[in-house]
Symmetry: C2
Subunit: 265 residues, 2 copies
């Protein structure tokens, strides 16, 4: 934005108005739809475990059921919502939005950790082997990547050490790997669902048992939630607009690196 030095205050107030622009008209509907899908995924997982797997408990054979429920709440629903924070909170201070993004990921991580402990503890108590299936290989990989991504994201964007230029260079990588880890989490959930179904139903799966049909619907819902979140994330015109404070920072940076005056950019 060209801003003649004589009317700087007028320019700033224009920028503030621009940065408090209303969200794109269709965005709230898409976000609402994604939340409806996400809650339906969690509810359907609960219904599946309640109706066909005897519900949930820590100290019994039902301990296994803690695993799918925690993973769906943590690494599907909350992880997806953490990615959407920058699309939903468009006019709040960048730092507040960052903290919310980081916190949602912390909640997701803790819930997923409970789910992980549940399955290892269940295996140990029953003498089952660990980490032999594709689901478990993908799951451990995703969990480690998720932790590393959080640590690196925290040290670059929330810890006050990293320079503006370092943040700018890391940001696209953080976004790409964030979306990728979310998609890998969804793929891992689908593999786990399939594994749980086939171990129990075996060839009965092909007779359209009600549990099989419900689990198939759950699988489609999981995939649909992923597509909805990805669509909202990748729509170019729905990206969070840069705020006045960020524009000023970006100008300062341009000035420092290119020797330009902020008003001539």
């Amino acid at each position: 934005m060209k801003c003649p030095m004589s009317s700087e205050s007028a320019c700033l107030s224009m920028e503030s108005r621009a940065s408090a622009a209303p969200a794109p008209r269709a965005l709230p509907y898409y976000v609402a739809f994604s939340q409806l899908l996400g809650l339906t995924v969690v509810a359907t997982t609960g219904a599946w475990l309640g109706l066909y797997r005897g519900g949930i408990a820590w100290e019994s054979a039902l301990q296994f059921n803690v695993h799918p429920l925690c993973m769906v709440i943590g690494l599907v629903f909350l992880q997806g919502d953490a990615l959407l924070v920058y699309r939903v909170f468009r006019n709040e201070a960048k730092r507040t939005t960052k903290v919310l993004h980081g916190l949602l990921h912390v909640f997701a991580f803790i819930i997923a950790l409970v789910g992980l402990v549940a399955v290892f503890d269940y295996h140990r108590k029953n003498g089952y082997a660990d980490l032999y299936s594709l689901h478990s290989w993908c799951g451990i990989l995703v969990f480690v990547l998720y932790f590393v991504q959080w640590l690196v994201g925290f040290s670059f964007f929330l810890f006050p050490g990293a320079s503006f230029s370092l943040r700018s260079r890391y940001r696209p990588q953080h976004i790409f790997f964030g979306a990728t880890i979310f998609l890998l989490s969804l793929g891992t959930a689908l593999l786990g669902l399939k594994e749980a179904l086939l171990f129990k139903l075996g060839t009965k799966y092909s007779t359209f048992e009600p549990e099989g049909v419900l689990a198939n619907v759950l699988g489609l819902l999981l995939a649909s939630f992923g597509v909805a979140v990805l669509y909202i994330l990748t729509r170019g015109d729905w990206k969070r607009p840069p705020q006045a404070e960020e524009q000023a920072l970006s100008m300062d940076f341009k000035t420092l690196t290119e020797g330009d005056s902020p008003s001539s950019q």
Copy 2:
């Protein structure tokens, strides 16, 4: 680019030079790596079917094995490569690149169709039920979406009827759904692999049978190929630069819609 009317020919030659700019330095290495991964995926699928499933034939119980091989070649490797066409062929005429993109999808579709016929024919001959599993539901959905996406893409971008403005508005949707269908194809392949493994190995899967370990590795390779293709597709600075002809068209369009003169944009 500002181009004073007095030196139009100089400007045009500058544009030609710009449009024949060399590819970003790292891009060829990433593309080579993705191709290595893709070929390894196809080879590992062949090795799995050859070593543990008796190989491939149409008129026998081996007919089933045609299905995974065709799906991996068509809906994973070729579909992925069709998406990469615009990153690899950066300086060729837009129309040539489009035709190659469309043709690769046609090959992928035909090979996938053979794979689909193989599994339905195998089921019919053996009296097995069709379309009961999550893998089959996702598979049919992906196959139909792939066909519709191709048809709509063809009528917008290759059939000479659609206007420039219609194409511009449809392009982001085409790109999003193209990438989504590719990811859904990969997810479906992983579900199918898991299904084939569990039906045959059952509880022996947990004893680290060589077939199980090879199939797990194949699963990780499939996921890695997806991540590699997605990374190349989404790197903003690796997008195909607009060519002189497209810039001219875009200027004409701007002129028509905004009443601007091409040289003043």
